[in-house]
Symmetry: C2
Subunit: 210 residues, 2 copies
């Protein structure tokens, strides 16, 4: 959890801080981050602009806190996932990818704003990068062990493959959520993504079950 702004913890203060976050997420659902002013965030939380600075040091800090929540949710759900890559690889990968799609779709405003904010903000970049790193580590560990047991062919470095596939997911999911053009339908995204993962990891559509 990222603690910023207020130093001491007071209940009413925490409520205010929460109200700001709720206001921000609500506004992000309908408007781009850049088009939201601190004034609006403050008004939405029933305070004045200078008072906003009592709770957060900047607009970016609000986004950072919001992103932190989303990432925590992902981590939580990653932990709950069954890891039966050996018995049914295709299903296991598809479930993982599907989980990401679900969580990011549920917080599309925050996700797309945060991803865009990486370019500008060091802390957002660091936080995103840290999570990305842990997903990449997870994927490349699995890929490596699939290669070791002979289920997946060598020929590409597991780490490089994992990075590329994770970056693809990030990009395709944001394109879908923002309904970019060209993009793909939200309904077919999961199928395409998991097909690409499976084909490029196993070199086949039906990796051997065990």
């Amino acid at each position: 959890m990222v603690q910023r702004g207020r130093r001491t913890a007071k209940v009413s203060g925490d409520e205010r801080q929460d109200t700001i976050l709720i206001t921000a997420e609500a506004l992000l659902a309908e408007r781009a981050f850049d088009d939201i002013s601190i004034e609006e965030l403050a008004r939405g939380a029933g305070i004045s602009r200078p008072t906003f600075y009592f709770y957060f040091g900047s607009k970016d800090e609000v986004l950072l806190a919001l992103l932190d929540r989303v990432i925590t949710e992902v981590e939580h759900r990653v932990g709950d996932l069954p890891r039966d890559f050996e018995s049914d690889p295709a299903a296991a990968w598809t479930r993982s990818i599907g989980m990401f799609v679900e969580v990011f779709a549920a917080h599309r405003g925050v996700s797309t704003a945060a991803i865009a904010a990486r370019a500008r903000n060091e802390e957002v970049r660091a936080l995103w990068s840290k999570s990305m790193q842990s997903w990449v580590d997870f994927s490349s560990d699995v890929i490596r062990s699939e290669q070791a047991r002979g289920a997946a062919p060598e020929g590409v470095d597991a780490h490089d493959l994992a990075v590329s596939l994770n970056l693809m997911n990030e990009r395709v999911i944001t394109a879908v959520l923002d309904a970019e053009s060209p993009a793909i339908a939200e309904t077919s995204a999961l199928h395409v993504l998991s097909t690409i993962w499976i084909r490029s990891i196993y070199g086949s559509d039906n990796p051997g079950r065990r």
Copy 2:
């Protein structure tokens, strides 16, 4: 730049405009777009800020012009590429992808700034989207014909596959150019990307030559 001879107003204007573009690309090589002010662009071109507005309506318009040049270069080079997908599919895809990597690497400042600016600017988004569309069209045409001749398996919609792979390239290339973390080494990017393309299009590392 002193004005003399029978130069018409238009020519000197074009030169000024060009100077602004050159200044912008130079600054973009060392600094983020947001950290460059119109004042700097103007000074770099030897004019005052208001005069800048005579040539461009906004900073974004400068970026748009720069992006346009890069895209034109890509289109030009796409046209020069041999299209021997039937005789050596792997080499043909690798060459195409390599060309993108090269051009974007040669203009990394512009590329990354433009991609970031999509979120904010409608025209940048439209221009990028148009090019992306044409690359996607090209890729999906080839994929479809590879599927038709039996070289590539069905199982995924060619268009969806093409979109996802192109988006992956965009994301991986920008990650590499910005030396993001996690990312992959610039030297291995081409190999990983083309492996993923080939495996996910053909379901194998060595698609049949003809």
